[in-house]
Homo-oligomer: 221 residues x 2
DNA sequence: CCCCTGGTTACGGTTTGCCGTAATAAAAAT
DNA sequence: ATTTTTATTACGGCAAACCGTAACCAGGGG
């Protein structure tokens, strides 16, 4: 069961609503913090007193308002907390973040649930809490869909190299020189053009810009 | 006095907390909506019944979740509402938005108060409400500061339109037609080229791809 | 040895984007 | 009202990207 929860969220609006949701869900004890350092201190203290938290609900990005902090964002907080209390459950509550990033967090078992701040986020949070209390993770389907869409195409190392170079400001006709320099096998301008053409075709993009944005969002850069 | 308030906010978390804040402030009557159309309908009805709202609290960006809407964002909502009830007070409650945009809204008297979803947003909302009830506007000082020290490039609506179109797969020579179609003022290919050139220059990008990725990461698309 | 096949490279033509300059329109200032 | 300033548009040359075709070069089988 989830009896003791700590909320780390800098926005008062969100923090308040999460608290209210905890009340609705009859969570026995919940505390909240507006700063990562504060949340960490509370978790550390509870741990020392032998009354550890069951669940950490945290935002990912925290605004820097001038007060100096050791821990600056949600990911740092999660890692710091897991270092002293590996068993704690972690639920991420985030505004807009890249699907891949979230996905990676799941893959590395750094988080157990993810709720996006959006329409129906309260419902989502309740569903997530429900899943967690049953020992399940909460990985929203929409996220899987987004990832699936991004993962349809298999990018080769060659593809990624080209795209990375383009993103660094190389123009296509400068790339062959670079490839020869680094002994990468297809190195002709034709090959590069053909490859890009093929990728665009398969993914249904009309220009390289879309491709670059896509790769950026997919975390390939 | 502010006795009757309508809240338009798609995020449940935020909506809920605003409601709670209204309770704390002893506002006599408040209603809420998760969609612009719904908010507009409520305002229209109240107006017809001779019991109009005193204040509209609205987010700027509303997520499109598939349900078809006439009014798609906060600005459209504000303009639609002001068209039928010019006297209504308007308070914007927004996550991250360009300071200049907000500033312009104030300058054109389209809004009376602005609260950013951030640290202490509940306090800010209360302060804003207090100011409004005294017949004052609420223009947070932080906004003025942000405009002053924003040495990063300021994208105009025009810029964003172009970039959005490019990202949708338009090629540059197709854009003038679109702009004329939508009565956007500079519409020539030259203007587009010149603008893009200028932006790249100021931000130090070597090609459009980098610009697109930048804008994507900055959440401007 | 030749032929076939898959992949790479070379080349030419066309389109698109890039950038400077000049003409024109609109706005501001006098 | 006319000049000055500013913004927008039109045009042209050039570079880059796009795209098709054909030549080239492995290796594998006949």
């Amino acid at each position: 069961m989830i009896d003791k929860v700590i909320i780390a969220e800098d926005h008062e609006f969100a923090n308040l609503s999460v608290q209210k949701t905890m009340e609705d869900l009859k969570v026995k004890q919940y505390d909240y913090a507006f700063y990562c350092d504060d949340a960490f201190a509370k978790i550390q203290l509870a741990q020392k007193k032998g009354e550890p938290y069951d669940l950490l609900i945290t935002d990912l990005s925290f605004e820097d308002d001038g007060t100096p902090q050791q821990i600056h964002d949600g990911i740092e907080l999660i890692r710091a907390v897991r270092a002293i209390q590996p068993s704690i459950l972690v639920l991420i509550l985030s505004g807009q973040h890249r699907p891949v990033d979230i996905h990676n967090l799941f893959e590395h078992n750094e988080v157990d649930a993810y709720v996006r701040k959006a329409r129906h986020d309260v419902q989502e949070l309740k569903s997530a809490m429900h899943a967690l209390s049953k020992g399940q993770r909460y990985y929203p389907g929409s996220l899987a869909q987004q990832i699936k869409r991004s993962n349809t195409y298999e990018f080769t190392d060659f593809d990624i190299t080209i795209i990375r170079l383009l993103n660094e400001g190389y123009q296509q006709n400068e790339i062959p020189a670079y490839l020869k320099e680094h002994n990468i096998k297809p190195s002709s301008l034709s090959s590069i053009e053909k490859r890009l053409n093929q990728i665009r075709e398969e993914l249904g993009f009309l220009n390289n810009q879309q491709l670059m944005v896509f790769c950026s969002n997919a975390g390939l850069l």
